[in-house]
């Protein structure tokens, strides 16, 4: 029964429309197009407010730049391991792909851990989501991003377990595209919230 389900799943993954793009890849890109508006909208509104409130620089100075920089390093590196996992799938080496996915999960977990440390430090210093508009934006944007990281970690874990058993390796590409998008969002959040002081 399980083998039958897997076969159906493989068959569905190869389904294409007139675009000649596999439905799985098409679906993830459509999803990300909507995410561009969500994160892009937030970032746009933040930038417009920031331009009108130069005094926010003093608030931004209280974010931990070193932690943000380390998290940028960690997330960019996890993107590298993710793309290497996809590359390994293309070459048919599922063992390497599975190991690279585990490394990506490790990187994502470190990112969440550092972010949690930052939140603890900032809240401890009295900077809560209601401490001012800058901090409301900070917690909303980084919090929404962190939720996307955590959701991505669960998705990567589920796919890694399947790939380790030789099932549905094509899904590595789909979760990879999502993971890189999460990386792209952080690439913008880091300078806006940490380096603009």
């Amino acid at each position: 029964m399980r083998a039958s389900s897997a076969a159906v799943s493989e068959s569905e993954s190869e389904t294409t429309f007139a675009t000649s793009v596999p439905t799985g890849r098409l679906g993830i890109w459509w999803f990300l197009a909507s995410e561009i508006v969500i994160f892009g909208g937030l970032i746009t509104i933040y930038v417009l407010f920031r331009l009108r409130h130069p005094e926010w620089a003093e608030q931004a100075a209280h974010t931990i730049t070193a932690a943000g920089a380390i998290n940028t390093f960690v997330l960019l590196t996890s993107s590298l391991t993710m793309v290497l996992a996809h590359n390994a799938v293309e070459r048919g080496n599922l063992k390497v792909a599975s190991a690279a996915l585990l490394q990506t999960i490790f990187g994502g977990a470190i990112f969440v851990g550092i972010k949690a440390f930052e939140y603890g430090h900032e809240i401890g210093a009295g900077f809560t989501p209601v401490s001012g508009l800058f901090w409301s934006f900070y917690y909303l944007m980084t919090g929404l991003h962190a939720l996307h990281v955590i959701g991505g970690l669960f998705a990567i874990l589920a796919i890694q377990r399947a790939v380790a058993r030789g099932r549905n390796p094509h899904r590595v590409e789909f979760v990879g595209i999502y993971w890189h998008f999460v990386d792209v969002v952080w690439i913008f959040l880091f300078p806006l919230l940490y380096l603009s002081s």
């Binding site: 000649s20 793009v21 890849r25 508006v37 993710m82 793309v83 590359n87």
Partner: protein, 98 residues
């Protein structure tokens, strides 16, 4: 499943070199953050972020190897964002003045 051309093209990318470029860009941004001319430094840092995001999208997300339909899908999101930005900007100028 990869389309054959997509898979073949993406295999020739040196992802470690891309990672190195992204790390170098991160380093430059950190150095610029401590520059005395804040406004200029912030503008350059943001420009670097745009380039970094583009590199990730083109090489890691394989946008370079995707068919035009996928590129148009991304552009659809960006156009919606541009409309949102233009509307907000007009509203702010109207309410607060230039």
């Amino acid at each position: 499943m990869e389309t054959p051309s997509h898979a073949a093209d993406s295999r020739h990318v040196n992802y470690a070199v891309i990672w190195g470029i992204l790390m170098a860009a991160l380093g430059v941004s950190l150095v610029l953050a401590y520059h005395e001319q804040k406004a200029l430094a912030s503008a350059i840092i943001f420009a670097i972020a745009v380039v970094k995001a583009g590199i990730v999208a083109v090489y890691y997300m394989h946008l370079k190897f995707e068919p035009r339909y996928i590129v148009l899908t991304v552009l659809a999101g960006l156009v919606c964002l541009a409309i949102l930005f233009a509307g907000l900007l007009l509203d702010i100028v109207h309410v607060y003045g230039g």
